[in-house]
C-alpha cells in the first residue's frame, strides 16, 4: 500500500468521530484528530494505557471512563475505548453533560456482551437514564459499524501496514519540519504573582534529529488552578500539528518528536479532581505555543512582541435535561442557548442584535423551572470585550442559578 492508501484507511476508520485516536496493542498512536472544542490526543493515550494495564482489553470489549485523575478530561466528557481487533483500538470522546460523577475505567461490554452489572450501576436509576442509554448505544453503534468491515480492519491492523504508515509519517515530518524556522524562545502567562505558566519552546535539528522541546521547568507549583500534564500536552501538540500541517499524517512518528519537560505537581502537571481548569489551561497552552511559533516564523525577526493572552468566554445553560454550550472568542461566537430557549418560551428575548462589530443579547427568564448558567473558564471580566451579566452583575467562573424574571445580558466585540 502506498502513503495515500494508508492515509485514506485512517480517514475512513475515523470518519464518524470528531475527536478520536487509533492505537495498536503496544499503545503506539496510529492516527489522531481533534475537531471539537478541546484537544485530547494525549489524554486518550493515557486513558488507553490505563485500560490496557488494568483491564487487558480483548476484541469486542468496550470501555468508558471520565475520571480526570485517572486518564479522563472532565466529568462531562466521556472517553470510550473499543477493541476492534487484537492489534487495533479506537479511543474517542463525546460530551454527555448530565454526568456529574466520576467513572473509573469501566468495561461496558465484554467481548460484545453487555455487562449487566456495570450497566445497572452506571446507566439505570438516574433521572437522565433514557438519554444516557441512547447516548451509550449510539457510541457502541459507531464501533459496531466498523466491526462490520472485517477485511478493512484486518488491513488497518496488519503489522506491515502499520509500520509502513509510521515510516510515511516520518518522511512527511522531515519534509514539513524543514518548511518552518528553527529557533528557541520563551513566553509566560501570569495569573497571580506566584501563579505563572512559563513555556520555553525550542525547535531544532541536532545530530540529524528534528525535535520540538517544550520546557515548562519554570512554571509555578500548583495551588488551586491546575490540570493534568496530558491536558496541557494535548493542546500544545495540537497547535504544533496544525501550525506545521502534520494533521493528516499525525501518529507516533510525529508525537515522538515533541518532547515535554514538566516539573512535578506544577500548574500544568497536577490533575484536578473534576478537571475544572482544563479549558482555561488548554487555551493558555495553545496560545503560548501559537505565539512562539509565530514569533519564530515572523519574517521581521526584530519585531518580537510580548505574549498577550486572548480572552474568551465558554458557558453553558442547563434547562431540565437539555444543555446548551456557548463559546465567544475574538474570532468567532457560537450561542446555542438563546434560540432554543426562546423557541420553547423559557426566556423572552429583549434584545438580539449585531451591528458592525458589536453583538448584544439580553433576555429575561420566563419559566418557573430553574435554569443553570455555568461559566466554564476563568475569563478576565474587567478588561475584556466580552461581558456576561445577570441582573447587571458580572458573572465569574462557576454555577449560577437563574430564576424567573432574571435578566441576562451577553455582549462581545470582534
Amino acid at each position: 500500500m502506498n502513503g495515500l492508501q494508508l492515509k485514506n484507511q485512517f480517514e475512513l476508520l475515523t470518519k464518524f468521530f470528531k475527536s478520536c485516536s487509533v492505537v495498536n496493542a503496544d499503545g503506539t498512536l496510529l492516527y489522531s484528530k481533534d475537531q471539537g472544542r478541546h484537544s485530547l490526543t494525549t489524554t486518550r493515550l493515557v486513558a488507553f494505557q490505563i485500560v490496557k494495564k488494568y483491564l487487558q482489553p480483548q476484541p469486542l470489549d468496550f470501555f468508558v471512563l471520565n475520571d480526570p485523575e485517572n486518564g479522563g478530561f472532565q466529568l462531562t466528557k466521556q472517553i470510550f475505548i473499543a477493541a476492534l481487533q487484537p492489534n487495533l483500538f479506537l479511543v474517542w470522546d463525546e460530551d454527555f453533560e448530565a454526568i456529574d460523577f466520576k467513572i473509573p475505567p469501566t468495561p461496558l461490554f465484554d467481548k460484545g456482551v453487555r455487562n449487566e452489572f456495570v450497566w445497572k450501576a452506571l446507566v439505570e436509576n438516574r433521572p437522565y437514564s433514557p438519554a444516557l442509554e441512547v447516548f451509550i448505544n449510539q457510541q457502541k453503534a459507531k464501533a459496531d459499524a466498523l466491526l462490520k468491515m472485517p477485511q478493512f480492519l484486518d488491513s488497518v491492523s496488519a503489522n506491515k501496514n502499520q509500520q509502513d504508515w509510521l515510516k510515511v509519517s516520518q518522511e512527511v515530518f522531515n519534509v514539513l519540519f524543514n518548511t518552518k524556522a528553527q529557533s528557541s524562545g520563551e513566553a509566560h502567562f501570569k495569573m497571580a504573582p506566584t501563579q505563572m505558566i512559563k513555556l520555553k519552546l525550542t525547535v531544532e535539528e541536532k545530530q540529524n534529529v528534528k525535535m520540538f522541546v517544550l520546557d515548562m521547568t519554570n512554571t509555578n507549583l500548583a495551588t488551586d488552578f491546575h490540570a493534568a500534564s496530558h491536558v496541557f500536552e494535548s493542546a500544545a501538540v495540537k497547535k504544533i500539528i496544525d501550525f506545521y500541517g502534520f494533521a493528516e499524517f499525525f501518529n507516533q512518528s510525529i508525537l515522538d518528536k515533541i518532547k515535554m519537560i514538566l516539573p512535578p505537581r506544577s500548574i500544568v502537571s497536577k490533575p484536578h479532581a473534576e478537571g475544572l481548569h482544563n479549558i482555561s489551561i488548554q487555551a493558555i497552552a495553545s496560545q503560548l505555543c501559537e505565539h512562539l511559533l509565530a514569533q519564530f516564523n515572523n519574517p521581521s525577526r526584530k519585531s518580537h512582541t510580548s505574549f498577550q493572552y486572548s480572552n474568551f468566554l465558554s458557558f453553558k445553560v442547563q434547562s431540565g435535561n437539555s444543555y446548551y454550550n456557548n463559546l465567544i472568542t475574538k474570532q468567532c461566537a457560537t450561542i446555542d442557548c438563546v434560540e432554543a430557549l426562546a423557541n420553547s418560551h423559557k426566556i423572552e428575548v429583549k434584545t438580539m442584535r449585531r451591528l458592525e462589530n458589536r453583538s448584544h443579547i439580553q433576555f429575561e427568564v420566563k419559566c418557573q423551572e430553574e435554569l443553570t448558567l455555568t461559566v466554564d473558564n476563568k475569563y478576565d471580566i474587567e478588561s475584556s470585550d466580552i461581558k456576561l451579566k445577570v441582573n447587571g452583575k458580572p458573572q465569574v467562573r462557576g454555577c449560577h442559578k437563574l430564576v424567573k424574571s432574571d435578566l441576562v445580558e451577553i455582549s462581545w466585540e470582534f
Binding site: 502506498n2 502513503g3 495515500l4 492508501q5 485514506n8 480517514e11 475512513l12 470518519k15 464518524f16 459499524a145 466498523l146 462490520k148 468491515m149 478493512f152 509502513d164 515510516k167 510515511v168 518522511e171 512527511v172 519534509v175 514539513l176 518548511t179 500541517g245 468567532c332 461566537a333 457560537t334 450561542i335 446555542d336 438563546v338 434560540e339 426562546a342 423557541n343 428575548v349 429583549k350 434584545t351 438580539m352 442584535r353 449585531r354 451591528l355 458592525e356 453583538s359 443579547i361 470582534f414
Partner: protein, 437 residues
C-alpha cells in the same frame, strides 16, 4: 390530443431535458448540455424547435423540474438586494447563533422600526436611505413580532412597500430566528428561481405550467427554500418507490449517499432552517475538486477548490485537471458523458489529458508518497466503496445516476438499464398523481 410534457433536470453545471409525448407514451427527444458551454436558454430553444418538428403543441406545456442548481448559492452571502424591516434591537438577530455561517442580508439595508414611528413619512425616508445604498433593491423581508406591533401596523407597512414596487416576504414567526432565516433565504434565492422560471416561460409561452420537485412531489406553489433539496428529495422518493433504505448517487458534479430518512431541520450554510427534507452525505471526494501537487509534492485533490467553471478538462476548455478527469476513459464509454462532453471523442483532447497527468506524476518527489493517476483513480473508487459500506452498515447499496456504472462494484450495482434523468422525472411525475391533462 394530450399536451406533451417536458422533463428537466437542472444541475449546478449541466441540464438534461426530455420531451414526453403522451400520445405515444415515450420520450421523443432527449438532450443534455454542459452549462458553462451551452446555456439553458439554448437548450430550451432546441426543445421548442423539436416540439414544432414533432408537430407537438407547445402552448400550455407542463414542465417538471428537478434541480440541484440552487447548490450554486451555498457558497455565497445572500441578500444584497433585500431590505429587512425589523424591530429595533433585533438587527441581524438571525446571525448571532454562529458567527462562522454565511450572511443572508446586508446590514446597510436594514430598516429598524419602533411601533410609535410606523408612519408613511418615516418609511419613505428609510426607503430612500436604503435605495441610496443599493438602487437595485427590489425585495423586502418584513419580520415584526405580534408582541410589539399590531396587525394594522404590519398591514400598513406591507401596503407601503407593495405600493413602492418591492416584492414582500413576510415572516410568519418573527420571534423564531430559524423561520426568519427561511424567509430571508426565500427572498435571497428569489432571483435565481425567477431566472429559471422566466427562461422556461419565454421558451414555451406564458401559459407554461412549471412544477418543481419539492419535499413530497412536484409542486407549482412552494417556498424557494424547498428548492435547495429538490434533487435529494427526488432521490429519496425514488428509494422509497423501490423499497430501498439507502442509495448512492453519481453524476458529473456530485457523488453522494442518501438515506430514506426525513429530517425537519436543514443545517444550511446560513444556519438552521426549518424545512422538511431528506439529508445526504457527500463522499470525501468532489468530482470538480482540483488535482494538484500538494505541499508534500504528492498528487492529491484539493477539497477546498471546486472548479465549477470552466469545469473539467474533458469538457474541452479547461486546463486545470479535476477529479472527474481521472475517469476520462470511463466517461468516453459512458453514453451520457459522451453526449455531454462531445470533445472527449477528439484525439487531441486525449493527448492533452495524458500530458497533464504525466506532468503531475513526474512532479512528485517522494517515492513512498508517489501515486500515479490510475492509482489515484482506483483509490478514489475504493474509498467510495468503503464509505458506502460504512454508511450502509455493510448492506449492499443500489447505485443511481448517470455515472453509476463508472463506480459500480461487484457488491454495489446500478439499475439494469442506463440512467436517464428525463425518464426518471416523467416516471416520478406519473407516479406522483399523474401528469396534468
Amino acid at each position: 390530443m394530450p399536451k406533451p410534457a417536458i422533463a428537466l433536470y437542472l444541475g449546478e453545471t449541466y441540464a438534461s431535458l426530455g420531451i414526453f409525448n403522451r400520445a405515444s407514451g415515450a420520450i421523443q427527444f432527449e438532450k443534455s448540455v454542459f452549462l458553462p458551454q451551452v446555456s439553458l436558454k439554448n437548450l430550451l430553444s432546441q426543445a421548442k424547435n423539436k416540439l414544432q418538428e414533432l408537430q407537438l403543441d407547445s402552448e400550455g406545456v407542463s414542465v417538471f423540474v428537478v434541480t440541484n442548481y440552487f447548490d450554486r448559492l451555498k457558497q455565497f452571502r445572500l441578500g444584497g438586494s433585500i431590505s429587512q424591516v425589523i424591530a429595533k434591537g433585533f438587527e441581524n438577530s438571525y446571525s448571532l447563533k454562529d458567527s462562522k455561517l454565511l450572511s443572508l442580508a446586508a446590514s446597510q439595508l436594514i430598516i429598524t422600526i419602533e411601533n410609535e414611528n410606523v408612519d408613511t413619512s418615516f418609511l419613505q425616508s428609510e426607503l430612500d436611505r436604503v435605495k441610496k445604498v443599493n438602487p437595485d433593491l427590489n425585495k423586502v423581508v418584513i419580520a415584526l413580532p405580534e408582541s410589539k406591533f399590531t396587525s394594522a401596523q404590519v398591514d400598513q407597512i406591507v401596503n407601503f412597500f407593495t405600493a413602492a414596487g418591492l416584492k414582500i416576504f413576510l415572516c410568519a414567526q418573527p420571534h423564531n430566528q430559524s423561520e426568519l432565516r427561511k424567509t430571508l433565504l426565500n427572498a435571497g434565492s428569489e432571483g435565481t428561481r425567477e431566472e429559471v422560471s422566466k427562461d422556461l416561460s419565454e421558451a414555451f409561452g406564458a401559459k407554461t405550467e412549471i412544477f418543481y420537485f419539492c419535499h413530497n412531489g412536484f409542486k407549482s406553489k412552494f417556498e424557494n427554500a424547498e428548492l435547495f433539496n429538490s434533487s435529494n428529495n427526488f432521490f429519496a422518493h425514488w428509494l422509497k418507490k423501490n423499497n430501498l433504505n439507502h442509495g448512492a448517487y453519481f453524476d458529473v458534479e456530485t457523488f453522494k449517499f442518501l438515506k430514506n430518512h426525513p429530517a425537519a431541520n436543514w443545517e444550511s450554510p446560513w444556519g438552521t432552517i426549518p424545512i422538511d427534507h431528506f439529508d445526504q452525505t457527500e463522499f470525501e471526494v468532489h468530482p470538480f475538486a482540483e488535482l494538484k501537487l500538494d505541499q508534500l509534492s504528492m498528487l492529491s485533490f484539493d477539497k477546498s477548490s471546486i472548479q465549477l467553471e470552466p469545469g473539467p478538462v474533458v469538457a474541452g476548455r479547461a486546463i486545470k485537471p479535476l477529479v472527474l478527469d481521472l475517469f476520462w476513459q470511463e466517461l468516453k464509454d459512458n453514453g451520457f458523458c459522451a453526449g455531454l462532453f462531445s470533445a472527449l471523442a477528439q484525439d487531441n483532447l486525449k493527448s492533452k489529458i495524458q500530458n497533464i497527468f504525466s506532468v503531475l506524476e513526474k512532479g512528485q518527489k517522494s517515492s513512498s508518497l508517489f501515486v500515479s493517476g490510475d492509482e489515484l483513480k482506483n483509490q478514489i473508487r475504493s474509498a467510495i466503496h468503503a464509505q458506502v459500506d460504512l454508511l450502509a452498515s455493510g448492506e449492499a447499496v443500489r447505485f443511481y445516476g448517470p455515472l453509476a456504472d463508472v463506480f459500480k462494484s461487484p457488491r454495489h450495482k446500478p439499475k439494469e438499464k442506463s440512467f436517464s434523468w428525463p425518464q426518471e422525472i416523467i416516471a416520478m411525475a406519473e407516479a406522483n398523481g399523474g401528469l396534468p391533462s
